[in-house]
């Protein structure tokens, strides 16, 4: 019976994963960790198979103490590492430490840990490069966005992903990287959610790319399969919904205004200043022109993962 350590439980995905694992009779104990207090992170959740550790993952010593303290005592065999800085517009040294260095520490320590045998890393579809010259349907060997102009949010995620990939086959612990489609939910770091969650969404005039979005339920299902699986690898985790951007905006009930490309960036900056939304057009410019859809063939074959939960769109389809 696996005991699982989940980092980043103060996110909707982390909380859902914890709830799911507690219902899963194959899981022994769940150690939940985040930087918040227990009440802030878990609310009123109490369960005999659940324990909570407040920990600052940006500090290497604290990561060590988590893994060789609570995790070892509870016989944790699998780590599901979800902790990542969510906001695009805020970065800096501490965000980098959380996004990259905490994972590096976890991988280092897992290599010599007495009980940990598997590390599941949640990565992101946003690490893939989007270009006119590249396929729309993206498999795991698709080029990553290594452009120096990419925001720290992307650069950190690429570095974390590659850090995990570089250890595969060399560590005693098995490493699984799940490159997840964005979940259309608040506080998940989804840029598309931030785009939709406003009174008006601007999109480039004359372009309507395909987007793929997931639900928290599907991402949790994929993580659970990875937790109980064996072997290593990188897997795309697509969502159930693949549709044009305009359709996604319409079905979310947000007004949309196609605008010339040169106007959109200032419009979004203004939207950010007025409404405080996190959406960054600079980061998503290419995706809003050419689209990106994850190819989940490998996850289907190796993990048995098939997205099954469509987004609960507030509005009926415009194409019906």
């Amino acid at each position: 019976m696996n005991s699982v350590l989940v980092t980043g439980v103060a996110t909707p995905i982390g909380l859902s994963l914890v709830d799911h694992l507690l219902r899963d009779t194959r899981v022994g104990h769940v150690v939940a960790a985040s930087h918040l207090s227990r009440v802030e992170a878990l609310g009123a959740r109490q369960h005999p198979r659940l324990s909570y550790v407040k920990v600052d993952l940006t500090r290497t010593r604290k990561v060590h103490d988590l893994l060789f303290g609570a995790a070892r005592d509870r016989g944790v065999e699998v780590i599901a590492h979800l902790a990542q800085h969510r906001r695009v517009r805020y970065g800096g040294r501490l965000a980098h430490k959380l996004n990259v260095e905490s994972l590096r520490s976890i991988l280092d320590l897992s290599d010599r840990h007495p009980t940990i045998r598997r590390v599941i890393v949640k990565s992101y579809a946003e690490i893939y490069r989007v270009s006119l010259h590249l396929p729309v349907l993206v498999s795991e060997d698709h080029p990553l966005d290594l452009s120096p102009g990419a925001p720290q949010w992307v650069r950190d995620r690429v570095e974390a992903d590659l850090t995990a990939c570089a250890r595969m086959g060399l560590s005693d612990a098995e490493i699984v990287v799940l490159r997840c489609a964005e979940a259309l939910a608040p506080e998940t770091g989804s840029q598309l959610y931030d785009l939709l969650d406003g009174p008006i969404a601007f999109r480039p005039l004359g372009y309507d790319p395909m987007v793929n979005v997931a639900t928290i339920e599907d991402l949790v299902a994929a993580m659970t399969r990875a937790i109980h699986g064996s072997g290593e690898g990188v897997f795309n985790i697509p969502g159930y919904d693949t549709l044009p951007l305009s359709e996604a905006i319409a079905r979310w009930g947000t007004a949309q205004l196609p605008a010339p490309g040169s106007l959109i960036s200032p419009l979004y900056n203004m939207r950010h200043r007025v409404l405080g939304t996190d959406f960054s057009y600079g980061m998503n410019r290419r995706r809003m022109h050419y689209g990106l859809v994850l190819d989940g063939t490998r996850a289907r074959k190796r993990l048995g993962y098939v997205p099954q939960h469509p987004v609960a769109w507030p509005r009926a389809p415009t194409s019906s």
Partner: protein, 278 residues
């Protein structure tokens, strides 16, 4: 761009019985919201059918030969010559394949990189099945059992000078590598007519993603008669193993075979016609 219900209403109001029947029988891989993963939408396919119909039937008066070689299902590649300054040949080939297959298959046109970057046009074409000409897109489509339509000459074919008409330009080989790797037959297609539709006077350097700006002798295409000829499928899977797709000699040999077949079809099409406009 018009919303999908408006497109649907338009095709219902203006479409012929045959067009509506094709729309009804058209099948595609719905990714969940009425679009496939690459953005194809059946109502836009019907719109393309509607828009190309008068051009196909009355303007270019397309004659189709050997369409029984087009497979009704499964992965396949239609490889054709490319010409005419503006890509009316691609539109007519698309329309012909859509009309001649049963059930109707909307071929997935592999466009040059700059086409999807064009506002409105790129999106509109994507709704009718066009995809950017990357190896990854082609691989995914063949694995999904789609019918690819491509022009191995690429942009140099469509932009060649009038004196080079019906002489195939440098013939790219990637389609044969894909055909061998995925066991997809290649159907050679020769298109006779477009070479004379817009004789090119001059080529100016391109702007942005557009590789060049053609200066044709006529402001619009002449009403030449199109003849589209399909040859028997070249099934390389009967001769080569998928791993032999990595052998440059084999791929080159296969590609030459396709090129030769297309050139033969062009000769045959030229023999069939009694005049450029007849």
């Amino acid at each position: 761009m018009l919303p999908t219900p408006a497109i649907r209403a338009l095709t219902r109001a203006l479409g012929s019985k045959a067009l509506k029947d094709r729309r009804r029988r058209f099948v595609f891989r719905d990714a969940g919201h009425g679009y496939d993963q690459f953005g194809l939408q059946p109502d836009f396919v019907a719109l393309a059918d509607l828009v190309t119909s008068p051009v196909y039937r009355r303007y270019f008066r397309v004659e189709s030969y050997g369409a029984h070689h087009l497979p009704g299902s499964g992965p396949a590649i239609v490889a054709a010559n490319h010409s005419g300054t503006l890509p009316f040949d691609a539109a007519m080939l698309w329309a012909d394949i859509y009309r001649q297959t049963d059930p109707p298959r909307a071929p997935r046109a592999m466009a040059d990189y700059f086409v999807p970057s064009l506002p409105f046009i790129g999106t509109l074409f994507a709704r009718t099945g066009m995809v950017g000409g990357s190896r990854g897109n082609a691989r995914a489509l063949l694995q999904a059992g789609e019918l690819l339509m491509l022009f191995p000459e690429g942009t140099p074919g469509i932009g060649k000078p009038f004196k080079d008409r019906y002489r195939l330009q440098e013939w790219r080989e990637g389609h044969c590598e894909l055909a061998i790797r995925h066991g997809a037959p290649v159907i050679p297609a020769g298109i006779v007519g477009p070479e004379e539709q817009m004789p090119q006077l001059l080529r100016l350097p391109g702007l942005g993603p557009v590789p060049y700006l053609p200066i044709p002798a006529t402001p619009f295409p002449l009403p030449v008669r199109y003849r589209i000829l399909y040859g028997p499928p070249l099934d390389f899977s009967a001769r080569y193993l998928p791993e032999q797709a990595d052998d440059p000699d084999i791929v080159r040999r296969a590609s030459n075979e396709v090129k030769h077949a297309v050139q033969e079809l062009l000769h045959e099409g030229l023999r069939l016609r009694t005049g450029v406009f007849r």
